[in-house]
């Protein structure tokens, strides 16, 4: 797979860069890494990061140090669906530990692992700002809140069917 954004995505890249003052294009790095991660398989391989460096005319190391700092950037491959279940205080009070155990058992994987079919990765997360709607998980761009075992069953069946 050649690592290159489509023409349309490149327009988006230019629009993002234009938000920042001239000479400060590096500011678009995090937004560009989000685009790249969505576009190139859900994680940031070194050649992808090098490509982003090229787009912003910065050194690859400047991209690596940022990509490894922020928890939303995956520097290793992940499954098609990344289940990020919050487990910090407020979610814990509402049974997030039980929810994580249930997902582990149901999918037969441990924290941080991916199912053999490459569909699901389970990643316990720290506070995602949905404390009043706990327990919850992040799935792609959306939050799944007020989780129950039944809802988890439903969600996994739905994603498997896609």
């Amino acid at each position: 797979m050649a690592i290159k954004f489509s023409e349309q995505k490149l327009l988006e890249v230019q629009a993002l860069i234009s938000h920042y003052p001239e000479g400060k294009e590096k500011s678009a790095l995090i937004p560009l890494l989000h685009l790249a991660q969505d576009e190139f398989g859900g994680w940031l391989d070194a050649p992808v990061m090098d490509y982003v460096a090229e787009l912003l005319n910065i050194l690859p190391i400047e991209v690596y140090e940022v990509a490894t700092f922020y928890s939303m950037f995956n520097t290793k491959p992940v499954g098609k669906y990344l289940l990020e279940v919050c487990r910090t205080g407020p979610c814990m009070l509402n049974g997030s530990d039980e929810m994580i155990e249930y997902i582990k058992e149901k999918l037969g994987i441990s924290e941080g692992e991916t199912t053999p079919d490459g569909l699901f990765t389970l990643k316990p997360a720290e506070c995602l700002g949905a404390c009043g709607y706990a327990p919850m998980m992040q799935l792609g761009k959306t939050y799944r809140e007020h989780l129950t075992k039944e809802k988890v069953d439903q969600l996994i069946a739905e994603l498997r069917g896609k």
Partner: protein, 451 residues
């Protein structure tokens, strides 16, 4: 019924969209503001007594007046929408359901500060909210509220939404600025303060979402009228996000005049504790502020009722009080274990430490390790003192307040719940099968008679 000024239109369907917002009095404050001078707007905000709603509670008007204005150097307003403090989700609510109120606040504040390019730094996980904000920005722009020469004033303003990527530390204003520049979120040494050299070394004001939204009612009502709402130095209204063991978790607007007891038990707010359980403890202002046992939460050490405002919540200092913080109200019932809860918070701060300062980088991991041992029945009595010692050595010894934020919850848990920690050490097996329960944490406090 408490006065609502931020969420007063919460019940109106479609308030998220421009036409409905405008029809219900939206952008009236902006019209008024553009007839005022920027200096007068800053003056109104000063008069209002508005305090930063992100957690520190610093007077907003004063912060604005510190902004340097060198000739020929652009200035920027940056909105801190990184909301990551465990227990806090009020800014999310404002942005998701009242985007135009937020944008109107941003616009007036940008005009007051002279920011032609204003940035909203939003936490990356709130991935669907930038779409809502961008749609609202486009609507505002189509109606002449953003772009060039707004209302014929000669003032230009663009608002850009910038997504973060999952780092609690970026809620600290200098880390946020570093991140906005495309770097790791390592906080900067101060001085220079952002008001002098902030983003791209230009003068910058960083304000929380709720703070900027509050500028709208301040302009509508006038600073003096706004200051009449609330009590003492806690002026205006405050959004609280409630979570944990309550019947009605969610976001509430309070005018800071109700007691903590009313807030927890009244149907207007939290609606009491579910399943007939009892209140054991509460963190009233986001995970970083001290946890209080039920008795000290509802009454101060002097035996007086505690109120939901900045002064009353901090009555007694850290010895017997807590803080309003970011308004993340976390309630624990008598089935919860304070040791386990503190362990999850220690894990959080360990995960979120940027690694720049050794007391925080090493200390947070060490505290998590010890708390894990205590929670899983492998702790020693000396561990409790060791924990106390570590948190003391972190507090005040780091560049940014994350160190303090990691130390305080551990300190308060030991200060008020030492019995529970000791019980874990003395009953390693039993503590794996049941919790310590309510114990004496709701007992009336003995108030010494005054001499």
């Amino acid at each position: 019924m408490a006065k609502k000024i931020l969420l007063e239109n919460d019940h109106i369907e479609g308030i998220r969209y421009y036409d409905t917002y405008r029809k219900n009095g939206g952008y009236r404050a902006a019209e008024k503001a553009f007839k005022m001078s920027p200096a007068d707007i800053v003056e109104e905000v000063k008069k209002s007594g508005l305090r930063g709603r992100g957690g520190a509670g610093f007077p907003t008007g004063m912060k604005w007046s510190f902004l340097a204005k060198p000739e020929g150097v652009p200035r920027h307003l940056v909105c801190n929408a990184d909301e990551s403090e465990p227990g806090t989700f009020k800014d999310r609510y404002l942005m998701e359901f009242h985007p135009h109120l937020f944008i109107e606040g941003l616009l007036i504040s940008s005009f007051a500060l002279g920011s032609n390019a204003t940035y909203v730094y939003i936490r990356g996980e709130y991935a669907w909210i930038p779409d809502i904000l961008e749609q609202a920005i486009a609507e505002a722009k189509n109606n002449g509220w953003l772009g060039k020469n707004i209302l014929g004033s000669g003032f230009d303003c663009e608002i850009y939404v910038h997504r973060g990527a999952g780092a609690y530390i970026c809620g600290e204003e200098t880390a946020l600025i570093e991140s906005l520049e495309g770097k790791r979120g390592n906080p900067r040494m101060k001085p220079p303060f952002p008001a002098i050299q902030g983003v791209w070394m230009r003068p910058t004001v960083v304000n929380n979402v709720e703070t900027l939204a509050a500028v709208v009612p301040i302009i509508n009502l006038g600073g003096d009228e706004y200051a009449k709402i609330g009590v003492g130095k806690s002026t205006g209204t405050k959004l609280l996000s409630v979570c944990g063991n309550v019947n009605k978790p969610g976001v509430y607007e309070i005018d800071m005049t109700c007691t903590v007891e009313e807030f927890i038990y009244s149907d207007e707010y939290c609606g009491g504790i579910p399943k007939g359980r009892k209140l054991k403890a509460c963190i009233p202002g986001g995970s970083s502020v001290p946890i209080l046992p039920a008795n000290l939460l509802l009454k101060t050490a002097k035996g007086e009722a505690r109120y939901m405002n900045y002064e009353s919540l901090s009555d007694g200092g850290f010895a017997t009080g807590s803080m309003m913080g970011s308004g993340g109200f976390i309630v624990l019932d008598d089935a919860q274990c304070v040791v386990r809860h503190t362990m999850t918070l220690a894990r959080f701060y360990n995960h979120e430490s940027c690694g720049q300062c050794s007391p925080c980088r090493e200390g947070t991991g060490w505290m998590y390790k010890i708390l894990k041992n205590l929670e899983y029945g492998k702790g020693k009595m000396s561990d409790i003192d060791l924990l106390w010692d570590i948190q003391r050595r972190i507090e005040g010894n780091t560049i940014c307040p994350l160190g303090d934020a990691a130390a305080w919850p551990v300190a308060a848990a030991i200060r008020h719940f030492r019995d529970e920690f000791e019980w874990h050490v003395n009953n390693p097996e039993e503590s794996q099968t049941r919790n310590f329960g309510l114990a004496h944490y709701a007992d009336p406090i003995h108030v010494p008679a005054s001499a």
